[in-house]
């Protein structure tokens, strides 16, 4: 079934012989499992509580993490530009909040508003990344910072001046610019409560999880299409693909557009669960945490699967839940635990990037000789 191993976490089947090398290759997820077990043990929280938290966090985060898989396949690395997709999603949510469109309709409207924005922005990111070949990740990150400025310009100065805005309660007292906090009351939990199922003590938002599942199936399906094959080819060797007649630049742009649109939808799903939108803040850490999560699952800059995305989301958020409690119980301070989890997120990214450039240097040297 799983011909390309999209669901596979380990790159090889485990046998007695390669056990050690698999252990080394997957040291990140293995360390994380151990870390999580220790933290769970010391958090002193009942299993039901943890399960509930993890289920909610999985349901609201996995879509975002999954949106990172395609750019990695296409050789564009980890998409730090995901924040830009998230901004598009937030623009959709702001539109819906201003019009007070309720329920599922509101959610769909948010997606519909975000879609053209995300497509356009994704196209732009793709174009820029084609110019910044080999430095896609840093380009994406800086582009994120830059677009954050544009985003602020639009919502801090544009609203009430060039963009007419009727919902006065969302605007700052000066009449220009949005307030920091936008209540998403009309669509809060809409998706989650669409199909809430109780399994034992745990409430499961089936509809939200189903959306992620649909995305997983779509990514798997994409692998088997011509586009997927082209994406995989350019991800491995752009030059050979080019010589074979694959339109490398176009395919990279398409991959970026898909990722940006998924990022926008992912942010909408995320925020409908949170229930409030911090206009100038909600998107800030989205890319960093999603990237940390997929890396925790064992993905690398050049290889990521759906399975790794899901495992990573699970482990990363489990640690997020338990570390303040574990910090409280172990060291007498929840803050330490909270500090620790942020620290871990950045450390994971830093180590992965360093490992990647080391491997790439080694591969290049090997190719030369």
């Amino acid at each position: 079934m799983d011909k390309h191993g999209v669901f596979r976490v380990f790159s090889k089947r485990i046998t007695k012989e390669n056990f050690k090398s698999i252990l080394v290759q997957n040291i990140v997820p293995i360390m994380f499992v151990i870390l999580c077990l220790v933290a769970v043990r010391w958090s002193g929280k009942p299993l039901a509580f943890l399960l509930q938290e993890v289920v909610f966090r999985m349901s609201r985060n996995s879509f975002l993490v999954l949106s990172l898989v395609i750019p990695v396949m296409a050789g564009l690395g980890l998409n730090f530009g995901l924040v830009i997709g998230a901004m598009a999603g937030q623009a959709g949510l702001i539109f819906v909040a201003a019009r007070q469109i309720p329920g599922v309709l509101g959610l769909l409207t948010a997606c519909l508003v975000a879609l053209p924005l995300a497509l356009g922005l994704g196209y732009m990111i793709g174009r820029i990344m084609n110019m910044a070949r080999g430095r896609e990740m840093i380009a994406g990150m800086i582009l994120g910072f830059f677009m954050n400025g544009v985003y602020q310009l639009v919502f801090l100065f544009g609203i009430g001046t060039v963009i007419p805005f009727s919902n006065k309660s969302m605007i700052l007292p000066s009449g220009i610019g949005l307030r920091n906090t936008v209540e998403l009351g009309t669509i809060r939990w809409v998706l989650d409560e669409l199909l809430m199922v109780r399994i034992g003590p745990v409430r499961v938002p089936l509809a939200t999880l189903a959306l992620s599942a649909v995305l997983e199936v779509l990514i798997t399906w994409l692998y088997r299409t011509k586009l997927g094959q082209d994406i995989r080819a350019i991800g491995q060797d752009m030059r050979v693909s080019q010589v074979a007649g694959i339109q490398v630049d176009r395919t990279r742009i398409v991959a970026m557009m898909i990722s940006t649109v998924l990022g926008a939808f992912g942010q909408i799903i995320f925020l409908q669960n949170i229930g409030t939108l911090n206009v100038y803040d909600s998107h800030g850490q989205i890319a960093t945490f999603a990237i940390a999560a997929i890396l925790v699952g064992g993905a690398t800059v050049s290889r990521a699967t759906v399975g790794q995305a899901l495992l990573g989301t699970f482990l990363f958020h489990l640690l997020f839940i338990v570390s303040p409690y574990a910090g409280q119980n172990l060291l007498g301070s929840a803050q330490v635990g909270e500090y620790f989890r942020v620290f871990v997120a950045y450390a994971i990214i830093a180590v992965s990037l360093a490992l990647h450039s080391m491997q790439r240097a080694r591969a290049q040297a090997a190719q030369k000789h």
Binding site: R224, K226, D230, R232, A233, A244
Partner: protein, 534 residues
């Protein structure tokens, strides 16, 4: 119909006023295996670039002449167009995606597809791959080239030889291929793999596909080809049938190299260099220079001689000097006058009065955006603390650059070597190639070397300036008694100035020849075979 699948008539091509192809004609029949041989720079690659419509041709003003393919006059604007019209190419370097399976590589970007619902809405790229057909087609193509491996294996782990077969299988699999170009397909193969490859080339030709077979291995060419076109200096020397009695390896080799070399009457030395006075010994030198690996070369360099190092590109001749000078990682033993020079440390060779003119003049040799005077003096300053003065009072002082002495020295060199420039302060970038090379020589002379290693000194330099550079080297040799080791791809220039010529093939010394040896002997040595001395 003329009976030829490809006819190239009167192909002429200039690069920036430099004629690289002159009135070349090449004709190939369906099912024929046509050998194309010649030294590096003979024009084989340019001819193929024209056939494939490579951008490098169009960007440099196109070409003159006519190409008829399958009876119709054609000019391909892009490689893609050529490929679509039925011309295939088996590359020297592998065009394979390592993480893909053999089957996926054979079908790369030509995957059979199956319709899907989404494809009707979103276009062709949403079609699904037809895996059963990918597998069966690949099997058939692999059978054709005689490689019995599992088509679902990833390419990454395959032996190098197999990768070449996968490439060929891909070309064979293309529907409607009428002409297949093999560019040195056996260069990286073992002997048995080569034989297997040759037999699959025969099978392919037997199915009616015309083959152009480019190779430096003349025995292969002779055994497999129906006819051979020999190129030299951008022209076709001859096209001959291999069934002809006169067509022998020696004959081809001779034609490949065969230009008359006029060796000027250089002045005789008081004492001609001989084996009784060896200045530099190189023993079992191995150099890890990408693309120019040396696998164990032993040389004895006579004091006061000009020793030539020749051979085809990629065979390792360039690696030798780079290894001796410590530019690339090397093993072995190098000694000057009995004193061993530690390898892998450029400073050490300089200390023993060796100096090096790199083949990579623009990147390694010169600092283009600095003045002539700076370029000439910088290495001497670093290595021997020349062109410096002490600033300070009493015993306390620091050494700083002494512009005055550097300028004086540069001015002396400019007049001595006849460097055409506006003065010592001119930026090196503004100089012509020949004058840049002279700056390099001046810089080496600043070190006052006993042995000068020179790599490709005339590469990228116009014809008149080439002669001046060579004359300059000869006069350094005759007047200053400097020993020169001259590495060059141009056999003619080696034969013009050298006392002896070492020919390198496959990273090893094949033969040590005299410039007066026959063309055939040079030709054979260049293709890796040592002539039996009668």
């Amino acid at each position: 119909m003329s009976g030829y699948v490809l006819e190239m008539h009167g192909i002429t091509k200039d690069y920036y006023g430099n004629r690289v192809l002159n009135d070349v004609t090449l004709k190939v029949k369906p099912g024929e295996i046509h050998g194309l041989v010649g030294e590096n720079g003979a024009g084989k690659s340019t001819l193929m670039n024209i056939l494939f419509g490579m951008p490098v041709i169009h960007n440099t003003g196109g070409f003159q002449g006519k190409i008829r393919f399958r009876g119709a006059e054609t000019v391909f604007d892009s490689p893609r167009q050529a490929l679509e019209s039925g011309i295939g190419m088996v590359h020297q370097e592998f065009m394979l995606i390592p993480g893909f399976t053999v089957a996926e590589n054979i079908k790369l970007n030509r995957e059979p597809l199956r319709d899907t619902l989404l494809a009707k809405l979103a276009g062709r790229r949403m079609k699904r791959l037809d895996w059963p057909k990918i597998v069966s087609d690949s099997k058939a193509a692999l059978n054709m080239v005689g490689l019995g491996i599992d088509e679902m294996l990833p390419v990454a782990g395959l032996p190098v030889g197999y990768m070449q077969f996968v490439e060929i299988a891909r070309e064979v699999d293309k529907q409607g291929v009428k002409l297949l170009v093999f560019d040195e397909p056996t260069a990286l193969l073992t002997e048995t793999e080569s034989e297997q490859l040759l037999s699959s080339v025969r099978t392919i030709a037997a199915s009616g596909v015309a083959v152009i077979f480019i190779s430096h291995r003349l025995d292969e060419v002779l055994s497999i080809c129906d006819s051979v076109t020999v190129m030299r200096d951008g022209e076709v020397v001859t096209t001959m049938s291999t069934s002809d009695q006169d067509t022998t390896i020696d004959r081809i080799a001779e034609l490949m190299v065969g230009r008359e070399v006029k060796r000027p009457d250089y002045p005789k030395r008081a004492k001609e260099p001989g084996d009784d006075d060896i200045v530099l010994t190189v023993e079992d030198l191995k150099v890890d220079m990408p693309g120019e690996e040396v696998h164990g070369v032993t040389l004895r360099v006579r004091r006061g001689e000009i020793l030539g190092i020749g051979g085809l590109a990629g065979q390792g001749k360039i690696g030798i000097s780079n290894g001796i000078m410590g530019v690339y990682p090397a093993q072995g033993r190098v000694a000057k006058d009995g004193i061993e020079i530690p390898l892998n440390d450029p400073g050490q060779a300089y200390k023993q009065k060796l100096a090096f003119l790199s083949e990579d003049r623009k990147n390694v040799g010169l600092i283009l955006d600095r003045s002539i005077e700076y370029n000439i003096s910088v290495v001497a300053t670093l290595v021997k603390s020349m062109f410096q003065k002490t600033l300070g009072v009493g015993p306390v002082g620091i050494r700083v650059r002494d512009k005055k002495s550097a300028r004086e020295f540069a001015a002396g060199m400019i007049s001595e070597l006849d460097i055409r420039c506006t003065g010592p302060g001119q930026l090196v970038r503004r100089l012509s190639g020949g004058n840049q090379q002279k700056v390099c020589i001046a810089r080496a002379l600043a070190l006052d070397p006993e042995i000068l290693l020179v790599s490709e000194p005339t590469r990228g330099i116009d014809v008149g300036a080439k002669q001046r550079i060579l004359d300059l080297l000869v006069s350094l040799n005759r007047e200053k008694g400097m020993t020169i080791i001259l590495t060059s791809s141009e056999l003619a220039e080696l034969r013009m100035v050298c006392d002896r010529i070492a020919v390198i093939y496959g990273g090893r010394l094949v033969d040590m020849l005299s410039p007066d040896d026959s063309n055939a002997r040079f030709g054979m040595a260049m293709s890796g075979r040592r002539a039996e001395v009668q």
